[in-house]
Amino acid sequence: MNPDLPYASRRRFLGHVSTGLMGVGLTQLLNRELSAAVSGPTIATWHPGSGKPHFPAKAKRVLQIFCPGAASHMDLWEHKPMLEKMDGKPLPGEENLVSFQGKNGPLMRSPWPFKPAGESGKQFTTMLPHMAAHVDDIAFFHGMTSKTNTHGPGCVFVNTGHPTEGFPSAGAWTSYALGSLTDNLPTYIAIPDIRGEPPNGKANWSNGFLPAKHQAITMAAHQPIRNLRPPREITSAEEKGTRHLLDFLNEKHAAEHPQESELRARISAYELAARMQLSAPDVSDFKAEPEHIHRLYGTDSPNDLKAAYARNCLLARRLLERGVRYVNLYCASRASGVDGLLNWDAHKTLKADYDRHAPVFDQPTAALLTDLKQRGMMEDTLVLWTTEFGRMPTRQEGTAGRDHNPDGFTLWMMGAGVKGGTSYGATDDFGRRAEQNPTTVWEYYSTVLHLLGLDFERLSFYHNGLDRRLTDVHGKVIRRVLA
């Protein structure tokens, strides 16, 4: 295709090529995206899905842990001694604050004491004793801000860079940009919690307007990939017979249309599917994992929720190990009829709610990080911890919980290319608003893309009038957290 021609197509994904396709690898064939989908000066030099970044990358793969429900920054990550001093007093300057659910009462200290952790001596909550061991490797973004105070748009915002529906998630962008690392498993996998889907459900791992192949495939230790096996008895002889005839028909049809690359790609897709049928059950078979690994993660915990999440953590490691590019792992689910029950949305009973959620999260997550380290995978795996926004320093009027706070919260990252032991940005003395180095979700993802070797301004896809980006029209790489 000649880009100078006025009729050069702006976007065709699997174009009709006039060259032979012999010898092209399966994955490359499927990932082949014509450069016309990218605008600007990059057309000639970089192809999305080719496996190559814009520039040398620190991270090859991403593990994104998401704690839906707006996990409280001042109770989990950012110590606020002023709340201890002023517990029960009004929030200065915002005595009559009305937020998402209504009126707010006085300031409320964190129910869990903080104490120094790691060599950096960062004040860290005693609620997460296992996570404390990783403090020196984490880069905290304590000055995050969101555009919305509502869970659904908030989750979608932190996953797609847009608070409205329909945009591709970070994992989909990564799949689009870099393609797959393996022929045996999907590129992008979302692992929902045993308690259900996060707010806004599948929109959190959607491909948005990117082609459907960039959507996350959902699986979990409690939920295998769909359609891996025929649902009823088909003998292996029959299966073989069908596949044999199918290959014959498809090969013949493709041979009659030698220039239609889709037909060749489709044959490859069936071959890849066959490989996935072999690999996917293996990845969820934990029998080969030694006892000490099970104990490390807590898969044997009598707490069913913790054991389930621990198994998902173990699954995440096994997926990353086998070449899955992006894993989106959830710890907790949605707003139920009773808030704070199924996720971190502690409106009324912070202490009781987090006394249930923290033990589910703490040991398995810490174990996953430890395991990635001890296997040397942390060298080229970027780990993200995300939630949709923070919580208020006040108690919600008439309760012992906290309301939504989009004006200040914490996200963090660690692993490939990240400078551990960093705290970038901060909220004010109370945790109410980002004060030092306020950081947008777009800046956070600019940094993520940078670590993946991608220029956040160059990674774009035309949709309804704009070259859309993960970072919208914003973004900036936060260099202070780079190793």
């Binding site: 295709m1 021609l5 009729y7 702006r10 065709r12 174009g15 090529v17 009305v98 937020s99 555009k147 105070n149 509502t150 659904g152 748009p153 409205t164 529906e165 329909g166 889907e197 599948k202 929109a203 959607s206 307007f209 082609p211 459907a212 192949k213 959507q215 495939i217 769909r226 096996r229 025929p230 649902p231 009823r232 088909i234 003998t235 002889a237 029959e238 017979g241 069908t242 005839l245 199918l246 028909l249 249309h257 239609e260 037909l263 489709r266 897709a269 069936y270 890849l272 599917a273 049928q277 949605r334 139920s336 029950l341 009973t349 202490k351 009781a352 006394d355 309804n464 009038g465 704009l466």
Partner: protein, 971 residues
Amino acid sequence: MTGLNVIFPRAQATGQLWRLAFAAGSLVSFALNAGAVDFEKELKPVLEKKCLSCHNPNIAKGDVILADAESMFDPEAHFVKRGDALASDLYLVVTPEEPGEKPSMPEKGDPLTEAETELLRQWIDEGAAWPEGLVLKEASKADKSWWAYQPLRKSFEFSESSFQERENPIDVFLEATLKEAGLKMNPPADARTLIRRATYDLIGLPPTPGEAADFVKAFQRDPEGAYVALIDRLLASPHYGERWGRHWLDVVRFGESRGYERNQIIDNAWPFRDYVIRSLNEDKPFDQFIREHLAGDVIGKGKPDIEIGSAFLVAGPYDDVGNQDAAQAAQIRANTLDEIISATGEAFLGMTLGCARCHDHKFDPITQRDYYGLYATFAGVRHGERVLATPKDVDAHQQAIAPLEKQKADLEAQKKAIETAVMDRAKKKAADFEKRWVRSPADRSGTDETFPPVKARFVRLVCEGNDSNPSVASGFRLDEFEAWTAGDSPRNVALAANGGKASGAARRIEDFPDAYGPQLAIDGKAGARFISAGNDFTVEFAEPVTIDRVHFSSAWNELTPEHRKFVFVADYRIEVSEDGKQWTEVASGDDRKPVSEAHRQVRWRRAEITKAETEKLAALSRELAGTDRKIAQLPKLPSVWVGTRNPKDAEGPFHLFVGGSPQRPGADVIPASLSTLSAVGPTYELPAGTAETERRLRLADWIVNPENPLTPRVLANRLWHYHFGTGIVDTPNDFGYMGGRPVHPELLDFLAVKLEENGWRLKPMHRLIMLSRAYRQSSDWQDEAGKVDGDSRLLWRFPPRRLSAEEIRDTFLAVSGKLDGRMGGPGFRLYHYMQDNVSTYEPLDEFGPETYRRSVYHQNARASVVDLMTEFDQPDCAFSTPERSETTTPLQALTMLNHDFTIDMAEALATRLESQAGNDPPSEIVEGFRLAYQRDPTLGELEASLAAVNTNGLRAFCRALLNSSELIFLD
């Protein structure tokens, strides 16, 4: 405000000398302006093009604004020092420090040319005169002279009368471009290819073997006549509306759930889908169709068939969570209207209006004022449902219901009279009652009941009224319930760890069934609690024991037990049993003080009411229930998701929002036409008080006004896009600067004019396009042509395509003989819908025959995934979708091989082949090929298929057929 040199400190210190030299030298080399610089004419466009995209008041990048005199000449900022360019940061940052270097500004895009920087220098040195009140604005990349905004060409190089007889004008246009590129069209496709192509194109289904055979025969006799007859037959088919309606539903982002966090399913949006299908089948003039979309409730008031069109306005996703934070609530409302504005622009005008929400459109001549004029136009629209019925039906309904409503009111009055009498008597005895209530009320933090030791295997708590509503006995919560053995060392035998088993109807979450279960009340932990759905809670002990105390709570150790999260029992009984059948009361809350005034009243009533009164009330209630049943049995007036209209929302005044933020209102706006087209067609502005109905109607009329060139162009292009796979403009929703350019601008206008001449009816357009040689040519690849035009945009061949998700599923059903052809009505679901505050859509593993309808009738929920549909690129409908992707993935292969649906279809096809071709494998195989591919197998195919059938049975053959590429690719 920061000076430019704070941001670019180097600009001040170095490069000065060179610049001086350059400035001096340039006087010689660029003696452009003998006289003074005309700022407005010469420099303003330069600054607007190269500086203002960042340094405008909305973005103010680096805190620098260059829009008006005030900021430009801010004495603290040193941007421009009048009379001294070399002391002016603005000049310094746009000139290179060293010759050949890139200047530090503009950061993105082309630097100023030497002539431009010289102009700037001269203007500053001359004193930087600024025209009074002038404000610079970023220029959009395209202006009103952009091709798409020009009037339709009505005369063409080829006049129609000059066409040779039977030459389709479309081919004349195409041939001309092909000739220029040194290409020519392929020869015609064969009959089997043509019937497959045309049938899928117009009705989205495969031709039957009979239709294919008849056509091939007729085609041999008279190719032209047979083909014309085929197209006419297909255009008359009711399936046409199902196929082309689906295209339109993509464009108008039609989805049947609300979206966002709650994403509740919408069960009454389907009438809009049926309306679209019906309108296309009727070949309703499209200008009328568009008017109905925007103002059907205005022009068709009282006519449900027309009013339903305006469901377009609320066919998109919206956030209905609600928000006590006023600023956030305003933002959500603005997002909702933005969704409607964007969809309107994209669907009808090919304009990306949403880009003008925060600032003037950067690429197209669409101002922020244009955008907010539409905001004011749609401000009265809210998502929701309302009754759609003719006045006659409304009247009839009123007539039927009125006597029943009266009967109901009478019965209620009788009941009330009895209740009042009881309470009047009770009040007089109040003092006596109070004497019985000696103990403290039930306490959420912990309530204790002791009783004489009793042997029991079971203990239960029976609620007679919860503490937030005395007449509701369910809904109470328990974080813990303990039962203690009598004696010196009491043990809590209710505890699960001690063998206790709890039961009791609990509130349930389908995908997390134990979330509120009774087990939570005997786990020894507070924090999570049992929520009753019935009126009791029972514990069975490991063995019969003697107990003398129970203790229970809903807010154990909570700081704010009064919160409604901890609803508890108020009036209750404790009962024990040895066998779980015979129960003995051992304690009750009857002698406790009531927890509230309402509870007190209920107790009075309970104490005072006579048996006769109770019976009378029961009789009245029975009668009332009968009346309610009769009311329920009356046919209901249909309530439809067409949105509500709220004139109060539309009152205004309306402002544009600076930076898109409702918290930063800017200039006043009124409903008006878009300035983009002001040069080519009519314009309007409506006074602020204009009714919201009128605003929408005026917009609709403006959009379909014959002078508006965009609407017919965009529509004609969509038709082309669906027929050939790619539009003449390959971005059907975007005819602006960022969109594609027309490959055949004249042809596009020709089609747009034809569309108008045909009274905006689509069927004659389909006929025109499909009778062209371009449409009828083969899809064969030609290496030489491919080198010039690999994507076949010039149409030297017919571009082959894969079937859409809907076509693939419908083909499975049609080929296997299972397709249920019923049209219209409520849709079917390929997912399981669950709701617990928010909604969850789980794809189903098995589909029953009730789902065997055409895919257009699937109730497509947002943010849901349905294997077969999603994987084959059915869009999520969060946005207007002008074109489908065509991806190929291993997941598709897994689904097509292994989903229960494929196996069902393969078995159904096998049964069909058996019954149609007897027990004769070769005939069965031939029939299978005819059904799937509309052709006979080759000898090789027959042999390979026979081998499969003979070894593994017909199903193995059928499953391969359904998975084969030929089934889902069209030449």
